[in-house]
Symmetry: D2
Subunit: 135 residues, 4 copies
């Protein structure tokens, strides 16, 4: 299991007229969090992965909303990888506010895709080697 916590401060343009963070923004928070998690491996940032010719299109997302987040909160987004990636990789997410209340849970599945051929591919060997240590 690989677990990584990322801090994200909510932005004014992410609020809506209910006075809370608009729900679709969590999907972007997930993406920011997994990019930071990937960077933390020291192997690849997501940006370097794209430069190396691998894109990771999103295949599926799920999100459950338990409590609202508000403007200017410093959220913790916990990213969890439970299984070794294959041609796909699934990230689970838990979002907490500063009071440690669980606001949201979710998951995202991405595919590894060769950016030339736009066909599915295996994850880069360096990433597999790194991940092996956690499973």
């Amino acid at each position: 299991m690989y677990i990584y916590d990322v801090q994200i401060r909510t932005r004014y343009n992410e609020t809506d007229k209910m006075g809370i963070i608009y729900h679709a923004n969590y999907i972007s928070y997930y993406e920011i969090a997994r990019a930071e998690m990937l960077r933390s491996t020291g192997v690849y940032s997501y940006s370097e992965m794209e430069t190396a010719g691998i894109m990771m299109p999103v295949v599926e997302i799920q999100s459950k909303y338990l409590l609202p987040a508000y403007y200017d909160e410093n959220l913790t987004v916990r990213v969890i990888i439970k299984e070794m990636p294959t041609a796909k990789i699934t990230f689970f997410f838990e979002v907490f506010n500063e009071k440690q209340e669980l606001l949201n849970t979710g998951m995202t599945t991405l595919a590894f895709m060769n950016s030339q051929t736009r066909r599915p591919c295996r994850p880069p060997q360096k990433l597999i080697d790194c991940m092996k240590n956690y499973f």
Copy 2:
């Protein structure tokens, strides 16, 4: 069953560096589509519902990505309600491009909430009366 089709043209700011529509935007498309569907009932627009003191926070979303959408495509978002709303209402979605290819499927569950008390409530009677005809 209540089915309603809404046209949404993709916007430049919704694209990402992969050259496709960024995945979180479908969650906003869902919301635009169910707002238009609600308007089509002639009973309430979502805006009028809020004025009447009812908010509809999102409880859960799911989305599956089958094929990408591109800039300036005229998408059809099909909204489907399969069951009479209770304290919650679930919308299902199918997104098609102009070639009638199915790009994405999804669902959103929302709660009815009294905007004063911020507590769950029943849907407005007028909406129930209208929906009855379809189930």
Copy 3:
């Protein structure tokens, strides 16, 4: 002078916690409006222009906010071109609500850029020929 009006309905995710349309969204409205204006010429959609190898990066924007817009309003964005495009093109904008109140004025200047070389270039001849009729 070339004047063209585009209807844009405000979206829930464009509101903020003040209950109004977040100011940066007008910049996207401008872009949607000039894309529709370009399509209306019958010469090029912005999408076809990109396919033809011309990108139009934004060089400058200005925007003045007179009155707020709210959720679910059907705005009219008036696009005005006052001068023949050279290596740059400047669009002026006026945004009205349904009561014909002027909410916002603005302008955007874009450059024509060869998407291969990423160097400035002239606008496509077909667009020049079309625009000549209005100046």
Copy 4:
């Protein structure tokens, strides 16, 4: 003069199909930067200002785009206040990438508004007292 630097990492959903950061996002960066600057005064965060009954709607924005920003860059947004705020406050901005290249300059003018009456008002005395030290 009050000068404050804020770091903002560009996000994937902020890119567009040109492969660069979509221009309207700088307007949000400005807002994030001035919120952090306000927090740095130790007097008020923007959030506390709203709680204290003062909103700050945007009156005018300007932005010039010199060079593009890309995904996953750690931008520095420099916020500059050149004059004591009156019923309005003007922030100037300079955006740099990690190579210290100047990508963008801009300004935003906001009004102080009583959130009850939605009428213009003076800035809070504590903010004036704090700002006096810099002018």
